[in-house]
């Protein structure tokens, strides 16, 4: 072969191009790179908006441990607390603390840390948005390896909150030494990863905690890039620069997961789509509500709009939740919907009219879903006018009980308890509920403090059935979270929706 200067240049250019263009997913993964869909504004998991942002919890859980461990199927397991419970008359709670755990700075984790974290969360001065839950415990004290607190107000779900929002254990001595600012600058936890480097709005680089009590993570180094734009996240994985990403359009997920070098997992998570009915105007007519519910073909919406990624639901409880009752089914029945409307004097020629509010682009295909539902309603005699608003407006209107007769929303409940789904959504006195009828308040009221767990869960199942029978709300579907990843990594999805790097292994 004769080598000229021109051919040599061509070969060099080609090899440079190939080496640059070779996607990382074709190579062995040394440092795991995740393209994450949200920014991390603050490292304190108990304060501010990020403390209650479900998507950010995956980042927090990489660094901090919660009081109680939540497994990928949402069930609790011993974590920093190895055992817990109430005393006989339920005036106290007790919690046994794991021994031999180290903070990231090498100091010992103790029961003092647990007691301090609980007391801090209950202190209104810290600005914890869930303070109203933590405030049900008081007088936290340490007795050996056990933490005891008095029950100021009995809450049967208090231990579930210990693996839910703001339920994190922070280092007492370190926090008191460095203060809030110092903690933001150099956070430490007992979690599977240590924070090695953090650039706000850019990335966080994590280093595996070699002393982690629950097993050292497989990937020694993990870089989480904050890539908030979905198209850019797709490009990150497609180009091989990132190994894992989430929250991408279903169409892109389907297109890429079949590609050589890539794979995907799509599992139902604890987020649901629903339509609130407000107890005003035409919604006071049960026939209208029931017709609106029976006229919606949820499976069709899932198949056509969400590429099949979704689970149709009849109550606000998904199969993973404690109070899920598969026997409650509300069928798609447009004929019944027409009959119900006719009984109230409505038909396609004389439709019942109301406004439905929805977000647009806040959740996958939210506006399109409502468009489809409005089309289905039209066929039975419901003429709904769509009003688009921002989710912030939804919160404001809901707090003021000024939502339209129908309003689309998505509800997350990663703890899986009925109080944090059906309870908060449907209990009238809560400023965030929408349907406020006394019959429902009467049924839900006693369940808040029901001490017997079996009775409590059965009570919530009964409430769900009652709500379904009277169509006080329109549950639509459970979302499915698509996670796209390089074939060199195995991702274990978490039903809470949290993307946890310590659950990822090399394939």
């Amino acid at each position: 072969m004769k080598l000229s200067r021109r051919s040599l240049l061509k070969m060099s250019a080609a090899s440079v191009t190939l080496s640059v263009a070779l996607p990382a997913f074709a190579q062995a993964i040394d440092e795991l790179v995740i393209a994450y869909n949200v920014n991390l504004p603050s490292w304190d998991p108990t304060v501010g908006p990020s403390a209650v942002n479900p998507t950010i919890q995956g980042l927090y859980q990489s660094v901090f441990d919660q009081f109680i461990l939540q497994q990928p199927d949402l069930t609790p397991a011993p974590g920093l607390l190895t055992d817990w419970g109430w005393n006989e008359d339920r005036t106290q709670v007790w919690m046994d603390v794991r021994e031999g755990v180290k903070w990231h700075d090498g100091s010992d984790f103790t029961a003092e840390d647990v007691a301090w974290s609980l007391a801090r969360a209950a202190d209104p001065a810290t600005g914890n948005p869930i303070q109203f839950v933590w405030g049900t415990l008081a007088n936290h004290r340490v007795e050996g390896n056990r933490v005891i607190a008095d029950v100021a107000q009995f809450d049967p779900t208090i231990f579930k909150w210990m693996y839910f929002l703001t339920g994190y254990v922070l280092p007492k001595a370190y926090y008191e030494r460095v203060g809030a600012e110092g903690f933001e600058a150099a956070p430490i936890g007992t979690g599977p990863y240590k924070v090695e480097q953090y650039e706000r709005n850019a990335f966080v680089r994590l280093r595996a905690n070699a002393d982690y009590w629950n097993g050292v993570p497989e990937f020694e180094t993990v870089t989480i890039r904050f890539v908030t734009d979905a198209a850019s996240r797709v490009a990150e994985v497609e180009s091989g620069r990132s190994h894992v990403t989430l929250e991408i359009p279903y169409e892109e997920y389907d297109r890429l997961r079949e590609r050589s070098g890539l794979g995907g997992v799509a599992t139902p998570v604890s987020d649901i789509a629903m339509i609130f009915f407000n107890d005003i105007d035409v919604m006071l007519d049960e026939n209208v509500r029931r017709a609106a519910v029976h006229a919606v073909d949820k499976q069709l919406i899932i198949d056509r709009l969400l590429s099949g990624y979704g689970v149709a639901i009849s109550t606000l409880e998904t199969p993973e939740y404690a109070a899920f009752d598969p026997s409650i089914e509300v069928a798609y029945d447009p004929d019944l919907a027409r009959e119900l409307l006719a009984a109230s004097g409505f038909s396609t020629d004389n439709p019942v009219r109301f406004t439905i509010q929805t977000t647009r682009g806040f959740k996958p295909k939210d506006y399109e879903m409502i468009q489809a539902i409005v089309g289905m309603w039209r066929r039975v005699g419901i003429e709904a006018e769509i009003e688009v608003y921002e989710v912030a407006r939804h919160y404001e209107l809901r707090a003021a009980d000024q939502l339209a007769p129908a309003a689309f929303y998505n509800w997350g409940n990663s703890v899986g308890d009925p109080t944090t789904s059906t309870g908060f959504a449907m209990f009238g006195p809560s400023p965030h509920s929408v349907w406020d009828s006394p019959d429902l308040i009467e049924r839900i009221g006693p369940l808040w403090a029901e001490p017997d767990e079996a009775t409590r869960i059965q009570g919530w199942k009964d409430v769900s059935r009652y709500i379904a029978e009277h169509a006080y709300v329109l549950p639509l579907l459970q979302y499915v979270q698509p996670i796209l990843h390089a074939s060199g990594v195995t991702v274990v999805p978490h039903a809470s929706g949290a993307l946890l790097p310590h659950l990822m292994t090399r394939a």
């Binding site: 709005n201 870089t223 912030a392």
Partner: protein, 335 residues
């Protein structure tokens, strides 16, 4: 005369900033979206809402909140961010250099590209090349910057991945510099590995911002050049035997560039505004990206700080352009 004009402009700028402060403060409190309502889980009671409102100082009347905030601003305290719990001024100033570097790089690219298009079009006027350049210019102008961004990501991020899609700098290269002007400081410190990495990250977002602006500059400068080419002094230069390149570059350009300079000044402010979307698309850690997060989270103090800083930037750029125009235009200089 010049000093008086300068002082007048500074006074106008201060009044403008005060107006912006009032408007922003009022508008973000009137538009839907209560930060506390967004933060509270559904089980919260009215008392919990009141407690958090008091915690963030939102329980006072809007005028009362405004004067407390304004009093702080005058003393350099722009408040504390709700989401990050960091002082707003520090947050904003830490991100400003990234946005400025991106904007300046985009401007430089736009000026170079636009200038080349204009000069080539003028030199080859009334030929097919000029027609082709006009078509390309039209295309560049009609596609918004974020779409250019997507096209660039597809071309140079995915199909031929030579540039980095997201971020400002590779995680393993984050420098510990004295300033956040990484691009500038990396040159001073002779850190060319870092400089290259920064350019590799910035080139696509800068190009996305630059392409529409380059088209505008190219169009206006070419038009201006073509008009200037018919003026008597240019004809005189030709009759003296100067080459066409010399006539364009040395004789016509100096006069033709004045309207373009004003336009660049105006467009630069739009370009800084354009960084909001582009920074988001490329996950570039600048002020624009932070602004979107602040709006999503209804982080009122941070929104106020960012908008006020943007307003300050806009007025300063306009002031600088006016001054530069006065320096370059003899008629204004001697007025």
């Amino acid at each position: 005369m010049f000093l008086r004009r300068l002082l007048t402009r500074i006074a106008t700028t201060l009044v403008t900033l005060l107006g912006v402060a009032v408007i922003v403060f009022a508008v973000i409190r009137i538009v839907p979206g209560d930060p506390v309502a967004m933060m509270l889980p559904p089980g919260a009671t009215e008392a919990d809402i009141a407690r958090l409102n008091a915690f963030y100082g939102l329980d006072k009347s809007i005028p009362e909140q405004f004067f407390i905030w304004l009093g702080g601003v005058v003393q350099g305290d722009f408040g504390t961010s709700i989401t990050t719990r960091q002082p707003v001024l520090g947050l904003v100033l830490s991100r400003l250099p990234a946005t400025l570097e991106l904007s300046v790089m985009a401007l430089v690219i736009a000026v170079v590209l636009g200038g080349l298009v204009a000069l080539t079009g003028t030199r080859l006027r009334y030929t097919r090349t000029e027609g082709a350049l006009d078509v390309a210019n039209g295309m560049a102008l009609s596609v918004p910057d974020f779409l250019w961004g997507l096209v660039l990501i597809l071309l140079f991020g995915v199909l031929w991945p030579v540039f980095t899609i997201s971020g400002r700098v590779s995680p393993n290269l984050v420098p510990e510099f004295a300033t956040s002007f990484f691009l500038f400081e990396s040159v001073l410190r002779l850190r060319f590995d870092l400089w290259l990495d920064l350019v590799q990250h910035m080139l696509m977002p800068a190009l996305a911002l630059a392409i529409p602006l380059a088209a505008i500059i190219g169009q206006l400068l070419k038009q201006s050049l073509k008009e200037t080419m018919h003026l008597d002094y240019v004809t005189l230069a030709r009759t003296k035997g100067y080459s066409e390149n010399h006539v364009i570059l040395r004789e016509a350009l100096r006069n033709a560039v004045l309207p373009t300079l004003t336009l660049i000044g105006v467009q630069f402010t739009f370009l800084i505004g354009g960084t909001v979307i582009i920074e988001r698309l490329f996950s570039y850690e600048g002020l624009g990206n932070m602004a979107i997060d602040a709006v999503i989270n209804r982080d009122l103090p941070l929104i106020q700080g960012i908008v006020l800083l943007f307003a300050l930037l806009f007025t300063l750029v306009n002031l600088a352009v006016d001054l530069l125009y006065a320096v370059l235009n003899p008629r204004l200089r001697h007025a």
